[in-house]
């Protein structure tokens, strides 16, 4: 049988092996960190989405809160 770990790597293999409740808990921790860092709940602009409205997104972005976007890239 195929070795999932060798195919997807340790991190994904561990994620797959968790129970739904464990994944929910880990995801909640990530959320907590994101919000403590000042992350916004506004969705990322996605021009591929059928719901995308550039005008709406500009209006939402005016709240000045971070969406935790890349502002500096090191290396490449």
């Amino acid at each position: 049988m195929i070795d999932i770990r060798s195919l997807v790597g340790d991190e994904w293999a561990e994620w797959y092996a968790m129970t739904p409740a464990q994944r929910l808990e880990e995801s909640s921790k990530l959320w907590q960190t994101y919000l403590e860092l000042g992350g916004s709940l506004d969705p990322e602009p996605d021009p591929q989405s059928p719901f995308y409205d550039p005008e709406e997104w500009r209006a939402l972005a005016a709240d000045g809160r971070a969406g935790v976007r890349l502002v500096r890239r090191g290396g490449i």
Partner: protein, 234 residues
């Protein structure tokens, strides 16, 4: 039915909203309105929260203002491309229990179908969802699982393995998924190309489905009342 469902099944999506599917009948929409009121949620984009828009296949978008959920977005739909009516979805749902709550989500096959959109972000999600299911159940698979994997896997090495271990099921499903020919032959390169072509067909079908709805949304945006800036004081 969105990012949270993906996390529960084994993919990982940092979704900033909650997507729910509802029955768009009058009684249920009254109940939904009561829940929306409780969350102090406001409709934040077109279309407005009206039954006819949900029935047409649109999503209605809310933002909560209740302090415990301030800023949280809620997207409501009653129709999803490729999926059956709510009653069928509900009968097939998965119910997941955590220490604190019980969560009803789309069945995995229905979630995979819902993710077959025109958006780049959804396709790696499908790969992860089915891959995760395979990783969790490969040791003790049932026929229904093998059938699902052969219909939906997008990881060539795993698809080749499943095709090799279940040649009769693979043969039976070739008419509905012709790329299984390459999986049965063990040709990873041809399979990868065919998977991409399969994805392109679905993306185009999704664009076609949304075209009239997008035109309607654009018209609603043009028609909505504008906030005009206050004139400067004299």
């Amino acid at each position: 039915m969105g990012g949270q469902a993906c996390v529960l099944y084994g993919a990982a999506e940092f979704s900033r909203d909650t997507d729910i599917v509802v029955v768009a009948d009058a009684d249920n929409l009254r109940r939904l309105q009561a829940a929306v009121n409780e969350l102090q949620a406001e409709s934040i984009a077109v279309p407005p929260f009206e039954r006819r828009f949900l029935e047409a296949g649109h999503a209605v978008h809310f933002r909560c203002r209740l302090p415990e959920a301030d800023g949280f977005r809620l997207d409501v739909m009653s129709k999803v491309r490729g999926l059956p009516d709510f009653d069928t979805l509900w009968s097939r749902r998965s119910t997941l229990e955590t220490a604190d709550e019980t969560i009803d989500v789309l069945s995995l096959p229905d979630l995979v179908t819902a993710k077959k959109t025109q958006q780049d972000k959804d396709w790696p999600m499908i790969t992860r969802l089915v891959e995760a299911h395979y990783a969790q159940h490969a040791q003790a698979s049932e026929d229904v699982m093998v059938d699902f994997w052969l219909r939906e896997l997008r990881s060539p090495p795993i698809l080749i393995e499943v095709a090799g271990s279940a040649p009769q099921v693979c043969q039976r499903l070739k008419p509905v998924r012709p790329l299984l020919e390459h999986a049965a032959a063990g040709s990873e390169a041809l399979l990868a190309t065919a998977l991409r072509a399969e994805e392109d067909v679905e993306r185009e079908a999704d664009r076609h489905y949304w075209a009239p709805l997008k035109r309607e949304l654009e018209q609603l945006r043009r028609d909505r009342p504008r906030l005009t800036p206050k004139p400067p004081p004299a």
